[in-house]
Symmetry: C2
Subunit: 333 residues, 2 copies
């Protein structure tokens, strides 16, 4: 790992995006996203995804601006028109925040984007910072077997939820597969064995080789529960909104669904904040399994890392990845 | 197991409820609930819960009818005024269905009920039969440790989601603990060991004795993921709506949150139905881990059991439980 300044990280990413003809508005969104994920320590979903994004957008450049269709108050459908997943997810988030703050609740969905939507918790967290409870789910390329099956049937279909809590919202961001695809990629790259019950090979046999996830399949989290969640997410982000369903995916057919609602429909914000703080304190004060390991609140570690990065103006990035990105940015300019 | 006629089951449950002074409207809801859960094979949440419900309602009888407060269009808060959880969950469901069919979406929450809300999938399924996607979560007595902790910190906080699919909606109904409390009770009653990583004893040591869940704690499903889901549910059903949060529970402080939205905001119902059917067929046609075990769709087994019970007019119930219930009904009358 190497420590770089946030200014330099923004600059290098910005140059690389401009060199690939990414529009300024889109580039601004992508820079913010990458700086935040690297600051928060979500390294599988940050700078590492930049090359993939640029490849996706180079293959099929955007056909126009994002199309927005408001089907009824608080209900909006976006067609990404080939823009990048992170850009479209940010547009969804901005609209969901505006609609929910105005009307109380919002559902915003999107299809027609290219490449990954990134770490969904990045988006739900923004809504929670504005006083909303937010849920976001997305479908993605099928690589996960159904419970009882061995063929890839569903995406790793992630799920993020954020709940407001001052400047440090509580955020759960999880794949519905046993292990996220990004983590398996890291394992494969470093020759680390995949944990038991997470991967099967092409013949459907249990495997500890993370690379088998590509030719075989990933397994769902917690058996039928993770499979059930993945299927429900596939239905919402697929048949319900017009995204892909199952293996018959074409590029740009992934779907995204965001739901946001004001947290203070029923009680005063200060009552909610007080009881939330009391609950978190109670959980933290409980006896620990390992005395040296504090009990953590979901998203807490990332919030601390963000605060540290903001104070110092510096972030830790993978050294090889950083050199590679800087070299490309210079070459491509 | 013993096969009894649905008519006789309705009759016996009805007599027992009347003998305990349960109001006719409430009794009708409870009878339907118990017949459906027994028909569907959800035996840990059906007839077995009747005694517990009657005890809960005997201790603190309802103080009046359910209070309904509409805070804005599509947003409703119920105070159960001491009525039973299943009754209040049904009232939530009826209101959510009406509001969402009229306005597109609804959020209905409840506190102030006594005893369990029952199997949440029973309620979300009703919404799906009316063309809605529905999510229901509930908090309950704390028995589950936080990830990294060993004290009970959160409820088993279940989560159900249903998606419309003709007469057989797709329903996921799961506890966020590794094993549901009802299943652990069954295991304890029959001397079956609890699976590994599901229970710790009072000293926080891993245990295979299901009874230890009472003095020690249950463990969350899939580690930090189940813990994260349980905490978010506790925040929604607790601080957000005025239900209990954490261990400081008083009777009647559990919370319930239901969200429902029309499935056809973005596309025609027939398009959604066709693609849903295609996805399910694709999943079923995949290679199986065990050639003799079909790949199932969440809720499918229950739907088949319901159809069989409807056709025959008969259901299988636990023989001891049935005799016991019938004896009580006769004695109490």
């Amino acid at each position: 790992m190497i420590e770089v300044s946030v200014t330099e990280l923004r600059d290098v990413v910005g140059r690389e995006l401009r060199a690939h003809g990414v529009a300024d508005d889109d580039a601004a969104i992508l820079i913010d996203y990458i700086v935040d994920t690297e600051s928060a320590g979500h390294r599988t979903h940050g700078l590492r995804r930049l090359t993939g994004m640029l490849t996706a957008t180079a293959k099929t450049p955007p056909s126009g601006p994002v199309q927005i269709r408001r089907t009824s108050p608080g209900v909006i459908a976006l067609d990404g028109c080939g823009r990048l997943g992170v850009v479209v997810a940010q547009r969804c988030t901005d609209l969901a925040i505006d609609e929910a703050r105005l009307g109380g609740s919002a559902m915003v969905v999107a299809t027609g984007f290219r490449g990954s939507t990134g770490a969904l918790g990045y988006f739900t967290r923004q809504a929670a910072l504005r006083g909303l409870v937010a849920l976001m789910v997305a479908s993605c390329e099928s690589g996960v077997a159904a419970e009882g099956g061995i063929d890839p049937a569903l995406g790793t279909n992630p799920l993020a939820v954020s709940f407001p809590h001052d400047r440090t919202p509580i955020t759960l961001d999880m794949a519905t597969s046993a292990v996220s695809y990004g983590t398996l990629q890291e394992m494969a790259a470093h020759g680390i064995p995949a944990p038991p019950s997470t991967v099967v090979d092409a013949a459907g046999r249990p495997s500890c080789d993370a690379r088998d996830a590509l030719t075989g399949a990933q397994l769902p989290m917690a058996g039928h529960k993770g499979y059930g969640l993945a299927l429900l997410i596939e239905l919402l982000a697929g048949p319900m909104i017009g995204g892909k369903a199952g293996r018959s995916a074409t590029p740009g057919s992934d779907g995204l669904v965001m739901v946001a609602t004001r947290v203070d429909h029923f009680r005063m914000p200060n009552e909610i904040a007080e009881e939330t703080a009391r609950l978190l304190a109670e959980i933290r004060a409980g006896r620990r399994r390992d005395p040296d390991e504090p009990i953590r609140i979901p998203g807490e570690r990332s919030e601390h890392a963000r605060i540290a990065a903001e104070r110092s103006g510096r972030v830790l990035v993978d050294e090889l990845l950083w050199r590679d990105t800087r070299r490309r940015a210079e070459r491509d300019e």
